[in-house]
Amino acid sequence: MHLRYRPTFRGTELSLLLYPALLIILGLIMIVVVPRGQVDWSWNDIWVGIAYATAVIVASIFLSARGFRGDQVVLPLTALLAALGLLMIQRLTPDLAAAEPGYGSLAQKHLIFLAAGLLLAWSIAMLAGPMNMIEWLPRYKYLWLLLSMALQLATFVIGVDVGGAKLWISVGPIQIQPSEIVKITLVIFMAAYLDQNRDLIGTTWKVGPLSLPPIPYLLPMVLMWSACLLSLVALNDLGSALLFFGVFLVMLYVASGRVVYVAVGLISFAIACYVAWLAFSRIGIRVQNWLDPWKDPYNTGYQQVQSDYAISSGGLLGSGFGLGSPTFIPQVQTDFIFSAFAEELGLLGTLAILVVIFLLAMRGFMIALRVRDGFAQLLATGLTTIIAIQTIIIVGGVTRLIPLTGVTLPFVSYGGSSLLCNFVIVGLLLYVSSLPKRV
């Protein structure tokens, strides 16, 4: 019998996973102890942490047992971010529930999504190899494109309005945020398309005396992306639109090696922003909230002003977990979770989060550089870019570096669709890292 799985020992991963495991258990004790003002906790209070720590360590052991030979750093970094997110949601839940009883089960839901996400990532990393994903993912590229467009269309038609933007569709009792799925399917499509046309895209197209980019090959892709982008803008999901656009430019650049595409893209983006600013009053409000939310602090600027207060109150070391008042910020658990960290963990905490996400991105690029398959290279680059750019968009937004456009902080913010899809990215990155390397 052919022995399919030869066990391996993933020692690096296992030892690195001890940090998030310790972090979540100690953090939960803190969250329990702080409001009571005395060192007094029971196992009941920290079962969530133990469950989470066990889950990530078991995931690693299972990877070892089945002989998975991929990257050993991505999972611990992801687990660390997710642990921080889970801790913060746990810490926010009682405060949020005090104002709005519906939030009482927030932490449980988050934990369930986290567990499901971990399982999803693990399954993809494990099963993609035997299923030979690297063959059929690019083969059905137009299926991914169609799926993306169908999801966008569905959002348009049956989308539910939550807080001013139609971002959700309801499937039975569950609400899904299709743009989270689309960001992955579009990257798969784009990686496949660019890989198949890589040689052509790097060339020039001669029209008489003019040397132009190979427009016949670029055009279909540009059009399809534009459709998705425009639909996001029309849905007022500007954060996702910005994210897609950034990922699009990066993938085009790494496939072609031509900066000029990026330059043209950025210039047209600038023009589009200017036109939008003139055309839509809601863009003007965003700009005002970015430069001076204090002009209308009780109305349009309220969330941003509260976030500014929270961030400023943290200082270097922060108030300590559970000792701040981040729930003064409306919707702190999603878009503004970074402000909650700024308040309670201070500058050191926020820099630590940025460093972890940065390391994750660098690891992702490393995976992309090592793999032999051209499609996998582009896929890993695109997926990694999603995480990096999404972080820049949301952290830049809440810190008022750029206008705020709502996206989640990867692995940290509350939000089922976002968590699950980010874990799909992790699974795909792990899978790519296990593929044959370049020499």
């Binding site: 009780y298 002003v305 701040g324 940065f358 952290v395």
Partner: protein, 547 residues
């Protein structure tokens, strides 16, 4: 790009960010973002390493992408340093008004102020002036006695902020300044409540009550000081307000407090302006003591120097009429008799004799035109709105007997009386005797300090004895208190509309004066007699109860 240029770019980027952070207070958000954008572009150039031609296109592009994203993370970090550390205090305390005029401020400030037990305020005998009571999760202020409450000020973090000692001593009361830094850091790390420090005042609730009773609701002020130390025993003002009625609970209804606030704010008598330290009045003849002190201290006169006063004096075409002579047949009066009977014609001549420069100089020595260091804000007294005002003889003469443009606060007037009683030393007035922690350990104790020494002790003795004569032999015999030596000087401030404010500044003691007081009553017809009676009564009550 050559390595040297790249190095320069990175250096320039760091320099721009450094300068931006260093000068961040003057920097608007938009300008700072502009600087960051420039720094980012420099960083992009600075990190553009040469990549060998043998490196595949894909690798090159991924490396460049990674560097670009890294530079963005670096810029975000710079922004975090600015908003979380450099600008954190400014943003934390920032307030803004929305288009309808409503103010927004950091809700953490309010909840921090209500979530910790604030230090209590006691008077000199341990009677509570301001208490802290627990109301659910919040600690609320309670002012048990309306005669002392307004001296503490109001503390209303939910609605109106704070005033008085509640504001000026907030760092102690909130516990912010308390305790050593190590303990404070440990408390902050453990999330322990910061126990505020208690204030122990020099104020005497009983005497404050007596003064309030004596005022009988008349507009005015009573201030009593301990001569040797400058400790403030009484600081009574009418009208005033009851800070207890401005306290609101986070869970309760605040409409009563809001309507009381509106009532106080609309009151034309301005009850928030506490007369004793914030009121300014023309001193009238009380100022003659300073004119006399200037003349004696500069060696121009002695108490026995003789001036002519035959009922009128013509100065540059204006005739000054004397109404205060006890004997209309006499026209020769000594300086001492001028004080005893408050002779305007005598002091008009003393003033012109002393001259504008010296008078200005002595007024300055007595603290006119200067902020008085005190635990509460004090309005600044003035001799004249401008030095040039004293250029005319008439203005100089008017000023010398206390009219003109002089303005004095009652607290300052009491300090002037105390200076003559204290050998020429003007003590720094103080209201907070000590700050103590919950266990009664004294953290901070006020001490008697000389603020100014405007005149020699010999001059002070001369003026002191003239003020005693004014009581014993002159026009203020109503202030005679059996068993004690009292000195004083009245003042009647004539106002433009014909109404008068009446003053008495005085001191009481035996061989050495022990307590000094100033009383001012606004706009009463019989008020000069009343001022004398009030002042005498409060001084007698003080020396009887405190010895």
């Amino acid at each position: 790009m050559p390595r040297f240029l790249r190095f320069l770019c990175i250096l320039a980027a760091l320099a721009i960010i450094g300068v931006g952070l260093f000068t961040s207070e003057e920097l608007s958000d938009a300008r700072w973002l502009g600087l960051l954008a420039i720094a980012w572009i420099l960083l992009l150039f600075g990190t553009r390493m040469p990549i060998g031609p043998d490196v595949p296109t894909f690798n090159r592009a991924v490396l460049r992408t990674a560097m670009t994203l890294a530079s963005m993370f670096a810029i975000i970090s710079a922004q975090l340093v600015r908003i979380q550390v450099v600008q954190s205090d400014a943003t934390y305390n920032k307030t803004a008004k929305d288009p309808t005029g409503e103010t927004i401020s950091n809700p953490r400030k309010t909840s921090a102020e209500l979530s910790a037990p604030r230090g209590k305020i006691y008077d000199r005998n341990g009677t509570l002036v301001a208490d802290t009571v627990k109301d659910g999760n919040a600690y609320l202020r309670d002012y048990p006695n309306p005669v002392t409450g307004y001296v503490a000020g109001y503390f209303s973090p939910l609605l109106y902020g704070s005033s008085g000692l509640e504001s000026s001593r907030n760092d102690a009361l909130s516990g912010k300044e308390s305790i050593d830094p190590v303990e404070r850091t440990i408390n902050a790390l453990l999330g322990r409540q910061q126990q505020g420090l208690d204030l122990h005042l020099t104020l005497d609730t009983n005497l404050q009550q007596t003064a309030t009773d004596l005022l009988q609701g008349r507009k005015g002020a009573v201030v009593v000081l301990e001569v040797a130390t400058g400790a403030v025993l009484v600081l009574a003002s009418t009208p005033n307000y009851d800070p207890d009625r401005l306290v609101t609970s986070p869970s309760g209804d605040s409409s009563a407090a809001e309507s009381y606030w509106a009532e106080l704010s609309d009151d034309p008598d301005a009850p928030f302006v506490l007369r004793a330290n914030l009121g300014l009045y023309t001193p009238g003849s009380t100022f003659k003591t300073i004119t006399a002190a200037a003349a004696i201290d500069s060696g121009l006169d002695t108490p026995t120097s003789v001036y002519t006063d035959n009922g009128e004096l013509e100065i540059d075409g204006r005739t000054l009429v004397e109404n205060n002579r006890p004997d209309e047949t006499r026209s020769e009066w000594t300086l001492e008799e001028g004080i005893e009977w408050s002779l305007n014609v005598v002091f008009a001549q003393v003033g012109m004799h002393v001259g504008a420069d010296r008078l200005w100089d002595y007024a300055k020595r007595f603290g006119f035109g200067e902020e008085i260091p005190f635990d509460l804000p004090v309005s600044e007294s003035q001799l004249a709105s401008d030095r040039d005002f004293l250029g005319s003889n008439n203005a100089l003469a008017d000023t010398a007997f206390g009219q003109g443009e002089i303005q004095v606060s009652p607290l300052h007037m009491a300090m002037i009386a105390a200076t003559f009683a204290n050998g020429g030393k003007m003590m720094r007035p103080y209201l907070v005797a000590s700050e103590q922690d919950g266990d009664g350990n004294v953290r901070n104790r006020a001490s008697a300090e000389v603020w100014k020494t405007p005149i020699s002790s010999a001059t002070a003795e001369s003026v002191r004895s003239m003020m005693v004569s004014a009581v014993n032999e002159g026009s203020i015999q109503a202030a005679i208190t059996p068993g004690y030596t009292v000195g004083g000087k009245t003042g009647t401030a004539e106002r433009g509309d014909g109404s008068v404010h009446s003053w008495l500044m005085a001191f009481i003691g035996d061989d050495t004066p022990r307590y000094a007081a100033a009383v001012v009553l606004e706009e009463g017809s019989d008020s000069l007699g009343t001022s004398v009676a009030v002042c005498q009564a409060i001084l007698e009550a003080t020396i009887t109860s405190l010895g």
